[in-house]
Subunit: 367 residues, 2 copies
Amino acid sequence: MNKTIYNFSAGPSVLPKQATKEAAEAIFDFAGTGIGILEMSHRTKPIEGMVAETDSLLRELMGIPENYDIVFLGGGASLQFCMVPMNLLDESASADYTDTGVWASKALKEAKQFGQINVVSSSKSDVYNNIPKNFTQTPGATYLHVTSNNTIYGTQWKSFPKANTFLVADMSSDILSRKINVSDFGLIYAGAQKNMSCAGVTVAIIRKDVLGKVKRTIPTMLNYQTHIGEQSMFNTPPVFAIYVMNRTLHWLKQNGGVDAMEALNNKKSNLIYSALDASKLFTGTAAKEDRSTMNIPFVFQKGAVAEDKVEALQKEFLSFTLERGLEQLKGHRSVGGFRASIYNAMPIEGVEALVKAMADFEKKILG
Amino acid sequence: MNKTIYNFSAGPSVLPKQATKEAAEAIFDFAGTGIGILEMSHRTKPIEGMVAETDSLLRELMGIPENYDIVFLGGGASLQFCMVPMNLLDESASADYTDTGVWASKALKEAKQFGQINVVSSSKSDVYNNIPKNFTQTPGATYLHVTSNNTIYGTQWKSFPKANTFLVADMSSDILSRKINVSDFGLIYAGAQKNMSCAGVTVAIIRKDVLGKVKRTIPTMLNYQTHIGEQSMFNTPPVFAIYVMNRTLHWLKQNGGVDAMEALNNKKSNLIYSALDASKLFTGTAAKEDRSTMNIPFVFQKGAVAEDKVEALQKEFLSFTLERGLEQLKGHRSVGGFRASIYNAMPIEGVEALVKAMADFEKKILG
C-alpha cells in the first residue's frame, strides 16, 4: 500500500509509528536479551526495569507528585467503575457524580452498589452535547467524579470543578493531551488505548491518603493496595501493553512532552473547528465552549441537505474520504454523522487532509 | 545472536516462533487493512472476526461443547480467584477446594469472602510435592476446585477427581497440553501466558447452567454474563493478546492439535525424567505418580554434593547451561534448585540440549 492512511478511530486508535515499530521489534528480541518480550518472565530484571521506567516516564510527563502511586492494571477503565467506589466509598457514605455521557453514566450506575451516589448534573436530555458546569456539590460527599473527555459526544472539561473534598477522574480519552494539575485529583484512571498504548492496560494514579478508609473487605485483585505494594507485579501484568506505553511515552518526551502535545492538539482541533464554523454543509454537534481537542463529531447542517438524502450523502462522504485514506470517520450511532478522533499520535498532515476533503466534498455537493 | 536460545521460563514463556512472527507483522498491517492491530478499533469487522475465530479454534481444539461459553478477559487468573466464587457460590453455600500449591491456596483464600470453603485436601506440609487424591467431598458443596498443574512444584492431576456436583479448574499452566473431557467441568479458567498467548488475557470456559444461581449483586465487569452476552466485547478487550492466542491456536492446529501436543509433551518430559532417574547428581522433587509434563523442578541429590558447596555448584550449573543458550532454569525459591518449564512451544531440540547439558555437567562434576 502506497497511500498514506490516517486512522481517525475513537479507540483503539492511532499510535506513534516509532512506538509501534519498536514494540514489534521487541517481539523478536527484547533489549538484546535474545528473548522476545511476549515470552519473557515478568520476574526478570529487564521487564521489572521496563515497568519501573514506564512509571518514571509517566510521573515525569504528567508531573505526578511523590504522594501518588501509579499502578498498571488489566480489565479496562470499565473495571475501574467498580474498583473506585469499592476502594474509596464506604457503604454509609456518598459520592457526587457528573453525568456527561454514556461512560460517565456507566461509572455512576456501577458506583451505586457501594454507597449513596448523587448525580449532581446531567446533560443527558441534550444528548450530552455539553458539560453542565453549574451544580451544587453534596456536603460530606467523599469525592466528585468527572469524565474529563467524552469520546462519543466530543465534549471536554476545559477546567475542572473545584471539589469540596477531592476529584476522581476518568481520563481515558484525553490523558497526556494537555497539562493538568495532578494535585487537584485524589485518583485518576485511564484505559490506555487512546493516547498511551494499545488495549490491555489501564493506569490508575492514586493519592496515598485516599486509600484504606473503607470498612468493606476488598477482593485482593480489586484492592489498589495489592498492586501498589507489589509495583504492579502482584500477578503477571499485561507486559506487552505496558511496553507499548513505555515506547509511546518515550516518543512523547522526545516530541516536547505534554506542553507540546497540548499546543499541537489545540492547533489540530482548531483547524477542524474553524472549517466546521465556516462550512455551509457541515456543523459540529458539541457546545462551542466544551469542544474536545480529541474527538470531533460533526453532521450535515439542517437544511443544507434534503432529509431523505442525508443517509446516502453520509455514505458518499465516507467513501469520498476513504478513497483519500481517511479511515474510521463514521460517527457513533448515538450522535450520527461523522467523528474525527485526533489523539496525540494523529499527525497534523492527517487533519489537513481531512479539512481539505471536507472542503472538496462541500464544493462537490453545494457547488 | 547466532546461538539458538531455549527459554525454559515458567511464564510468560516460550511461544511458537511462527505465532510471534505473525503477531509482530500484524502490528504494521492487520489482515491487509493498512492499519496495525494495536491501532484498530475492536468494533470493526476484522477484529470481531478474529475474536470469533479464536473462540471457534479453541472450541475445536479442546472439544468444547455448545452448552459452554468462552470469554476472553483481562486481569489474569488471579482475578478469576474472586470471580469464580462471586458468580457461582452463594453466601449460604459451600465449595470444596483442593490445596495443591500456592496458586490453589490463593484461590481458596479468596473464595472465603463469598461462602463456606472446605479445604478437602492439602499437601502443604510436603512443600506440595504431591497431589493428595484420597479425600472426602462435602455433601451439598456447590463445586470442587482443582489446580490442574502446579507450576512451582511440578505436579499435575493425571486424572481428575469425579466431583459430586461439578469441577472448577484453574488450567493456567497446562491448558491445551493434553486431552481433557470438558464436560467433566462446570468452569475452566486459564491465564494465557503459558500455552496460549502472551500475558494480558485470561480465558474462561463456562457451562451455561452454572451461572445465574447466586443472589448477590455482581459488579458488571465481574459478572461472566456481561462478557458472554457481548462476545467479550462489552468493553475494549485485550485485542493483541487475543491475536497472539489466535496465531498460537492456528499453529497448534497445523501441528496436529492437542493429541499431537500430548504425545510430544509426554516424550519431552520423559526424556528429562529418565535422565533424572538415571542421574547420580540430579533428582526430581515431585512424587513420581504426579509428575508434570509442563514444569520439572530438580535439585542436586542429597549426598552427591557437600552441603557447603551446593550454592556455588547451583550457580555453576546455571552458568554452564546459560553458555549453551539454555535460559531461565533457576528454580522457584520455595523449591530451590532448578526448574525446566517445557510448554507446548518448547521444541524437543531444547529438551535434548538440556538433557545433554545435565549429563555433561554431571560428568564434569562426578567424573
